[in-house]
Amino acid sequence: MEYTDSFIEELLTCPKKITKAPAREMKLDRGHWKNNFEVESENGEFKFSVFIRYNDTFNENFSIGLDYNPREEPGTIALIRSNGPHGSTKQWDHHGRTHTHVASAETVNNGLKPESNIEITDRYTSWNEALQFFVKRVNIQGTQVYFPPPQGNLFEETE
């Protein structure tokens, strides 16, 4: 299948509902804390997996990602990952800024690591803030039950 940027944006932004709930608490495993859950588009057409990770030693090293599970082919396509300041990147030679990896048609169609476009962001500073940013960015509904936004959510006014 040939992907387009508009289809990827549709996958990213289509309203999604949780189909397999996250665990009540993050679980420590091999030096990092983790949680996973599954979502699908509200029209039932697209299925996705979400992962949340943060490092036990360096809590600021986190990653929250959305993988698309296409029905027509095996495997998954990483669409977006919100990361903490874990180090430099190839595109941004800095020493630690929060950033987001986003897929593009070019990277997916050319067999590159799908989420290899990197955007620097200052919209979150911790994994909890990144999670609130992430669920809004990828339009997951009903997350307040599992991940209540902190008081005075930083992103309320931007939506």
């Binding site: 030096g31 992962f51 990602g65 095996p74 180090g87 990896h101 990197i118």
Partner: protein, 263 residues
């Protein structure tokens, strides 16, 4: 501590031709910025842990390189080390490269005067661990037919295998994956990795029987249990011999082909 890291910085900068940088991530833990990147563009996370022996002002003879769990955390985005076999593969990769793991941290105690090659080795090993995601079931499964072909053509060549044979010339929709002729009569081999292929193999065998072809039929399953019970039953009724896995086929194929040759 300050003297130590300054000394290491000078030493490594020379060894790296000045293409590195340090940042103190936590007291005594220094993140190294090296020109090594994952496929997604992120830099490989490498830290020097100088916390041990900090009371000793002398330059240490060994320095601990550590990722503080970042490599396995990154791997877990798409692949979990959650079976004894995966665990075994991980630790084989680590031990073959002189590294070890504790609670998810991948470490290497490197001699100070050989830090450069140690870091090369470390980053190379981290890359190998990252590539364990290539062992994902859907990727391995997609290699089933290639693995079967590799075995047949490399190990069963003395049975003169022919690929993609149509026993009924006018029925090119009933194709056999391999033909062997150990005794002058055909043995047809089908690789089966899913229900669709199981059904095609069943239909093919039944059609060959219907037109009175003289043959034996072998089936190699990628995973016998994965085919539905009804499809297994139909296939069992239609074919002569089934190998439940590629592993079983590689172990026993010759025995069965040799038995055919005796008749």
């Amino acid at each position: 501590m300050t003297e130590n890291i300054q000394h290491i910085n000078t030493l490594l900068s020379e060894q790296f031709n000045n293409r590195l940088d340090f940042r103190e991530k936590r007291p005594g833990i220094f993140q190294l910025f090296l020109p090594f990147y994952h496929e997604d563009g992120d830099m490989v996370e490498v830290y020097l842990d100088l916390r041990n022996g900090t009371e000793n002002k002398s330059i240490p003879s060994r320095v601990r390189i550590n990722d503080f769990g970042m490599s396995l955390m990154r791997l877990s985005y798409s692949y979990e080390i959650d079976t004894p076999n995966k665990e075994k593969i991980l630790h084989r990769i680590l031990s073959e490269n002189g590294l070890f793991e504790q609670e998810g941290h991948i470490m290497y105690d490197a001699p100070i005067d050989a830090l450069y090659p140690a870091l090369m080795q470390y980053c190379q090993t981290v890359a190998k661990i990252s590539n364990m995601r290539q062992f994902k079931r859907e990727i391995i499964e997609s290699l089933f037919y290639e693995m079967l072909d590799d075995f047949v053509m490399s190990n069963l060549g003395d049975y003169n295998p022919e690929k993609s044979v149509t026993p009924i010339p006018e029925r090119d929709d009933l194709e056999v994956d391999y033909l062997f002729t150990p005794n002058g009569h055909p043995v047809y081999l089908f690789g089966v990795k899913d229900t669709a292929k199981a059904r095609l193999a069943t239909i093919s065998c039944l059609e060959f029987l219907r037109v009175d072809l003289r043959f034996k039929s072998y089936i190699v399953h990628e995973d016998f249990e994965k085919v539905t019970r009804k499809d297994r039953s139909r296939l069992t009724s239609a074919c002569d011999k089934q190998f439940p896995s590629l592993d079983d086929f590689t172990k026993n194929a010759r025995k069965f082909l040799d038995r055919e040759a005796q008749y």
